[in-house]
Every structure is written in C-alpha cells, then in structure tokens.
C-alpha cells in the first residue's frame, strides 16, 4: 500500500510537487505519465524513501520514515547503477540468498544464457568489464537485483529509456511477469507502456 497525503516537494525553493495526494492499494498497478522535469522521478523517489517531503506525508506499507520505506520497496532506475563488483554482488548487494533463488532471478531476468558464457559465471567482476557490458545486459542485472530483494512493491523509473526497442520489450516483459501479484508503480513518458495498468496518473495535468 502506498499513500501520499498532501505531499509537496521543493528543490532549492522551487516547487517540484505541489499538494499531491494519491493512494495505491496492495497489488494495484499505477502508471505515472509526464514529460521530463514534471516531477515524476521525484514522486518515485518519495515513494522509495530516497527523499523526505517538504510537507505532507508519504506512507508505504505503514512506514513513513524514509529509511524504513527504503526497506519495503524494490527499484529499477533509468540507468542500471551497477557497482564495480561481481555480478553476484550486484544482484544480492551483499545479502545472503540461496543459490536456487539467485539462479531463479537470473532466469527471470533473462541473464542465465549470458552468464553461462562467462568464464567465471556469476562471479565475474564487472568493474573492468563495464565497457564490454551492453546496456541491455546491465539493465537485466539491475532487474535481477530488484527481483532478488523480493519486495512487495516494485518501482520503475523509465527502466527501458536507454535501451533499443527489442531489448526494451524483453525487459518490460520480464518486469511485468515478476510484478504480477505485487504493487507496481511505473514512471514513464510513453503511454503505450501503461496499457494494462489499474491507475494512470498524468503529472502534466496536475
């Protein structure tokens, strides 16, 4: 469950969001549309607990403290934001998971085929290979990371914006399959990505 009550957000004294209220029930899918700079990424950051509202309250699964909200959600950003570490560390972020679960999320994120071609497999270090990593592969690692956390809420911030159409379609399909019984918030400027969503909010009209 995500609830925003009369939330405003100011960046360097300029209003980015003004008195926004919304409610997303557990398992619902919310699509957020809008052009660049309309505040949709800020809205997502608030829902992810990455920033504190200037006024109003953000509640996610009963938590309103940003640090606690962070623990309730999983995110896929526009850029994969990979760390110069192994694929495994990038997926698990240092937490202990069973091998089966890691293999499962890699499978779900369409990573297995590529990983199997690597000499060190999932323990391949990404720091020195970032140039060899395609945008699609990197974003799939980010998706596997989001799936691995297994949070009840998945937040997507234009996860396919840097990908070619073929890769974008595959990535979206994987994400939507994963998000079937979860709460999903998808921020995008492309309405065609939000066809099957329960609620679609257009930030330009706010």
């Amino acid at each position: 469950m995500i609830r925003l009550d009369n939330v405003s957000f100011y960046y360097e004294k300029q209003p980015v969001l003004n008195h926004v209220s919304l409610f997303v029930k557990k398992g619902q899918k919310l699509g957020v549309l809008g052009e660049s700079g309309c505040g949709k990424s800020t809205l997502l950051k608030l829902m992810a607990g990455l920033c504190r509202p200037s006024s109003g309250t953000v509640t996610v699964d009963g938590e309103s403290e940003p640090a606690r909200i962070c623990q309730k959600v999983s995110v896929v950003m526009q850029t994969p934001m990979l760390l110069p570490m192994t694929i495994r560390e990038n997926i698990t972020m240092g937490h202990e998971y069973t091998e089966e679960w890691i293999r499962h999320v890699c499978e779900e994120a369409n990573l297995t085929k590529w990983i199997d071609t690597l000499p060190k497999g999932i323990d391949t270090y990404l720091g020195d290979r970032s140039d060899e990593l395609s945008g699609g592969q990197a974003q799939r690692v980010a998706i596997a990371r989001a799936m691995c956390k297994d949070a009840g809420i998945l937040l997507l911030d234009e996860p396919t914006s840097a990908l070619d159409p073929e890769n974008a379609a595959a990535v979206l399909e994987a994400l939507e399959r994963y998000a079937k019984n979860r709460t999903l918030v998808h921020v995008t400027h492309r309405p065609e990505h939000l066809k099957a969503y329960d609620i679609v909010m257009n930030m330009d009209e706010l």
């Binding site: 990455l50 570490m85 972020m93 720091g127």
Partner: protein, 307 residues
C-alpha cells in the same frame, strides 16, 4: 623537435637575449665567488683588506643580483613568448582546417589537446624550460671554471657525482614501476568509490551499505600495500641518495684540505669549490629527471598540430 625549433626561430631575438642574460648572470656569479675566494685568502693570510677590494666585491655582488633578475625575467618572457606563439599557431591551424574543410575538427580531440598537451607544454615553457636551461648553462660554465682552477679537484668532485647519476637513474627506474603499481590500485580504489557514489540510491534501497563499505575497505587495503611499499622504498632510496650525495662534498673536503696542506691550492680556492660545487653536482644529479621532463615536453609538442 620541429615544433620547438619553429618556436625558437620565431622568437629568436628573445632567445638570444635570454642566452646573453644567462651568460652574464653566471659569469657574474662565478666572478663574485672568485673574489670571495680571494677575500678568504686575505683573511687567512691576515692581510689588510683594502676598501677598493671590498667595493669591487660589492659591485660584483650587486651585478650578480641584477643579472640574476635580468636572467630570470628575460628567460621567462622568452618562455611566455614561445608559449604564446604555440597557442596562436595551434589556433591558426584549427581555423585553417575549419575554413578549408568546414566543420571538420573533432571538438573532443581539440579540447583534449588544449587541456592536456597544450596546457602542459605551456606550463613547462613558463616554469621549467628556461630554469633548466639556465641551470644546465650554469653547470657547464662552473665545470669549465673549476677545471681551470684545479682539474684534479674538479675530477674529485665530478667522478663520484657521475656514479651518483647512475644511482639516480637506477633508483628512479625501480621506483617508477612501483609508482605505476600503486597508481593502478589507486585508480581501482577510486573506481569503487565512484561506483558507490554513483549508485548511492540503489545502495540505499537494496541495503548495500555494508557491501560497499567492505568493497571500499578491501580496495583501500589493496592500495595500501603497494603504496606503503613505495613509501618504504622511497625512504630507503632517498636515504641512500642523501648519503651518497654527501660523498662528493666529503671527498672534496678530504682532497681539498690535503691539497691546501700540501700547498697545491690556497684555502680561498677550496672555498670557491665549496661555494660552486652544488651548481655542478646538482646539474649532473638532476640530469635524468630534466631529460625525462624534456622528453615529455617534446612528446607533448609533437602531438600539437601547428603545421
């Protein structure tokens, strides 16, 4: 080298002036010290010191300071004129290419040359080029002067210095490999830091703080090893360098004092050697680093297209 030749040619008046100024400055310094040697002989011989002699020393002391000023000023003006010629020649070449071939210049490559090769060549010309040529000039003149004063004592000073030169080259090479290894690890450590900064939101959401801290800690530990090794080796080499660089002076004092006792030279001559020995030994000992700096400078120049 062709670019340097062009720059020297375009500013030949200033280059000539700088050479004359360097010559005058060094000659005046040598003559001043020669007079000091004479003064020491008079003090040692308990002779009367005439006021005309003191006035002569004062004149050379003043001329030493003034010619040094002219030397530094004219040398630096020459260097700045050459740097200006270089900047203008590079810009002229770019404009010609742009006018002749339309928008054919790669902005990234041009800016990279401007911020790296051109800036470094500029800095070298402005701060180092004439300083080093001045010191080299001084080293050669002092060597000639000392050889005329006493060839044997000059060799006593010069031969161990040449051995030190080999030591400096050897230790410099040994250290450069370690510097590279430490730099590689430092770059890796910075990549981890940058990755952590860049992926901060993801780290926060996925609770990767511990992982990042451990990865950075491990990267630091990996860097500390070669960096400490480099520090320890530098300490060792610098100690040896400190000790061996005292050897020419000690030998000069040993041989020079012996020659004074034997009556081969006057005490004043030994004082002249003591006052000028640094110009000679430092010229020889710094030769490798000057040459490597000069090689980097000419390599930078060769990458700047001006023709």
């Amino acid at each position: 080298m062709p670019v340097l030749r062009i720059l020297l040619k375009r500013n030949r008046f200033w280059v000539m002036a700088a050479v004359v100024a360097a010559l005058a400055s060094n000659m005046s310094q040598i003559f001043y010290i020669f007079l000091i040697g004479d003064l020491v002989n008079k003090i040692e011989g308990r002779q009367a010191i005439e006021s005309s002699f003191v006035a002569l020393i004062c004149i050379f002391m003043l001329s030493n300071a003034l010619t040094l000023y002219v030397d530094q000023y004219v040398g630096r003006i020459t260097a700045e004129k050459m740097a200006h010629s270089l900047r203008m020649a590079y810009a002229r070449r770019l404009v010609k290419r742009a006018a002749g071939e339309g928008n054919a210049c790669d902005a990234g490559a041009v800016m990279s040359v401007a911020q790296n090769e051109l800036a470094q060549a500029d800095a070298y010309l402005g701060n180092t080029f004439f300083q080093i040529t001045g010191k080299a000039f001084s080293g050669v003149l002092v060597l000639i002067f000392l050889l005329f004063q006493d060839a044997l004592l000059t060799m006593t000073l010069l031969i161990p210095t040449i051995f030190i030169l080999f030591y400096v080259v050897w230790s410099g090479r040994r250290l450069s490999a370690m510097v590279n290894a430490a730099q590689d690890e430092k770059n890796r450590m910075n990549r981890v830091a940058y990755g952590t900064i860049h992926a901060f939101p993801v780290i926060r959401i996925f609770g990767g703080e511990d992982l990042s801290r451990k990865a950075f800690d491990a990267a630091i530990t990996r860097w500390v090893r070669p960096a400490s090794g480099l520090g320890r080796r530098s300490a060792l080499y610098n100690t040896l360098s400190g000790i061996v660089s005292m050897i020419p002076l000690l030998l000069l004092l040993l041989a020079g004092s012996g020659m004074v006792i034997e009556g081969h030279i006057m005490l004043g001559t030994l004082i002249v050697f003591l006052n000028l020995q640094k110009s000679l030994t430092q010229f020889v000992m710094n030769l490798p680093s000057w040459l490597s700096g000069f090689r980097v400078f000419t390599a930078n120049l060769s990458r700047i297209e001006i023709m």
